[in-house]
Amino acid sequence: MEMNSQAFLENAREALGDPEKAKRRDIMAAFTPMVRNAAMESFGKFEPLRQHVRRVRQHTLDNLDHYLDLFEKEALSNGNHVHYAMDGEEMNRIVLDICQRHGARRIAKGKSMVTEETGLSRHLEGAGLNVTETDLGEYIVQQAGEPPSHIVGPALHKSAAEVRELFLSRHDLGERELDETAQLVKEARGVLRQKFLEADVGIIGANALVAENGYSMLVTNEGNGDLCANLPPVLIVCTTMERILPRAEDATAMMRLLVRSATGQPHTCYTSFYSGPRREQDTDGPVETHFVLLDDKRTDILASDYREMLQCIRCGACLNHCPIYTATGGHAYGAVYMGPMGSVLTPLLTSLEESHLLPNACTGCGRCAEVCPSGIPLPDLLRDLRHAEQAAKLSPRRWRQGLKIHAWLARHPRIYHGLTALGIPLLHRLGRRRGAFSKLPLAGGWTSQRDFPAPQRKTFMQAYSNVVKAEKKRQRND
């Protein structure tokens, strides 16, 4: 599959043509909304919490200069180095530089979508470093040489049997049973335990940055993030500024939404706050810690009409509820972020030229906005991107022109009614026996997959004007 948003339709076709993978996606599409709904119903306060967190986050974004200043001040006074990167290349350079200054050879990495964005692992490996993804899902796709298919469960497109094959070929551990998923997890645990213990540098992301005290928050079920944050002598936190929240309780309030939305659990197993390097009373932990704050268009988005997209907490609920994502799978999007949130972010982070198909992969059904814990009006943002696409003349000419003609006709009722009064009865006569057309000129997109139902004898406006005329005649005769 091509990692290229312009190949979305071809990729989608390929994905639709794989019945086994399609079936697994359908199963996930039935399962994930069910557990999310159960969790929210059990919690009982989704809407008030969503409103509260939304208020706090919009307040933070409105005053981001104040909070960024505060976070930096606190993070520095906690003993961190704080770096800023305009783009992915700069972030990668900064991280590599830190690793090289320490003569690091082995890197243990926690899950971080920001580092996916910048292609950090590839960059470090290109410089000869050995990078191990420690989140099990990321480890699996790393071993398989594939991109993640989902922002929360990167390897959910793989069956247990495929993971078994992968482990058998990649881990040199001799004859062994790997039929149960539990055995696969146990093997990964053993292999990766060594990596944690040997790592020279730990790299993690952050689910939130707390301005009032300079702590970063990381949540996992596996505990791999904590192992990366506590064992290696150097820790690098790669993140972006929209993660900043004012207070610690704002971060944990947000978690009430994040975890239920992502997995249907009330909370994650590990919710950890790290302030910086080892202190006097510590016997473990990194001796040197770094924050690398990446911009990569965030400040542009902040200044734009798409600003609300910065409220995204990467829960993946919109993916889980999107029937288009289910149909095509994550890889079809050809981008780091997929599904509804990816279809908004990708044009903003890359360009509309490269990715304008993605906002079109949407029926406007609104299921995403219904479940979005951040209250982001995704269907409206997607429509606005289609507006930008249309204004930039990136959509196919025949569509743009066809829709303009239709709109013009609609504003000229007499012509519209006149033309349809001619066309519809003709279509009716042609189609009335069978009831539908299997082929119709100008409707190839429709008829490639569907029959086109035949119209009735006349248009309504035609039939109604006849009724009105007949009624007037009757009244005159009475």
């Binding site: 989608a12 076709r13 639709l16 399609a22 359908d26 039935a30 029937p323 288009i324 149909a327 095509t328 079109n360 992969a361 949407c362 029926t363 406007g364 059904c365 609104g366 299921r367 906005a369 219904e370 429509r383 991107l385 289609r386 507006h387 930008a388 249309q390 204004a391 959509s395 569509w399 829709l403 303009k404 239709h406 709109a407 609609a410 504003r411 009722p413 519209y416 009614h417 349809t420 519809i424 009335r432 026996r433 009831g435 539908a436 997109g445 429709w446 997959q449 569907r450 029959d451 086109f452 139902p453 035949a454 119209p455 009735q456 006349k458 309504f460 406006m461 039939a463 109604y464 004007s465």
Partner: protein, 263 residues
């Protein structure tokens, strides 16, 4: 024929309803519009059909052509606003008028759009909440099992779910056989189904299969876009489930062919 005339909201005169038939009903299934008039009159309303109507502007709007949509929206508002109520046999077109016109327009036009929105209703909502249909059974043979498709716009923009089911119960004595995953899109999405036909077809197939699995013989719904999509896909799949607009069931208009059905 002595119709029972109910008096919605204690009006001393009959409430005047302007029917916005929708372009799909106008072009592909006028019987739905005629059935809607019949139902509204039965509910005690006097119905006018503004003759300058064509389309609410969704095709251009959803494809992002806001510039082409604005003048059309203004035309529609101007045409409809004199009525006491506007009734629309489509969740998506009613949603367009109620939710999206105010978003699209500014200043005095926005105010006029907001005002119109307070008086604009989708058909089944109007016939349950505003001008309740006097309960009576449809005088035809008992209906075969029915399942119901909730359009996304109707469901999420206008909270339409119970209303058609209540009407089917009260007017036709029918309890809907619910499908699996009623809240998942059927794949129509306006221009989407033509821009991304294979993805759309998969979604439509899932919906048709869910409908057939209920054992229902009729698939009803309130939005012709969805219904044309599902009927077309069902025919291509070789499924014979009858696809009809809910107005047809409620008014007992079942003699003619279902959507996509031949003579």
């Amino acid at each position: 024929m002595n119709e029972e005339r109910s008096n919605p909201e204690g009006h001393t005169r009959q409430p005047q309803v302007a029917l916005f038939v929708t372009c799909l009903a106008d072009l592909f299934r006028p019987s739905v519009a005629f059935d809607s008039i019949k139902l509204l009159e039965r509910a005690g309303c006097s119905v006018v059909v503004p003759t300058q109507q064509t389309c609410c502007g969704q095709p251009a709007y959803n494809s992002g052509d806001y510039d082409a949509t604005v003048p059309l929206a203004k035309q529609v508002i101007e045409m409809l606003e004199p009525a006491d109520y506007v009734v629309v046999p489509s969740g998506s077109c009613a949603g367009m008028i109620c939710h999206h016109y105010p978003r699209l327009l500014d200043g005095q036009w926005q105010r006029r759009a907001q005002d119109l929105a307070t008086r604009t209703y989708e058909l089944t909502t109007f016939l349950t909440d505003i001008a309740p249909l006097p309960p009576r059974k449809v005088k035809t043979a008992a209906l075969p099992p029915v399942t119901y498709h909730d359009s996304c716009a109707g469901l999420r923009e206008l909270a339409i779910r119970e209303q058609p089911r209540r009407l089917l119960r009260d007017m036709c004595g029918v309890e809907v056989n619910e499908m699996q995953q009623t809240d998942v899109c059927c794949g129509f999405g306006g221009t989407f189904c033509a821009k991304m036909p294979e993805i759309s077809a998969k979604m439509a197939s899932d919906k048709v299969n869910n409908a057939v699995a209920t054992g229902a013989r009729i698939l009803a719904g309130g939005d012709l876009g969805c219904l044309l999509n599902l009927a077309g896909r069902a025919r291509r799949m070789g499924e014979t489930i009858e696809v009809r607009h809910v107005a047809e069931l409620l008014s007992g208009d079942l003699a003619g062919p279902a959507i996509g059905e031949g003579k």
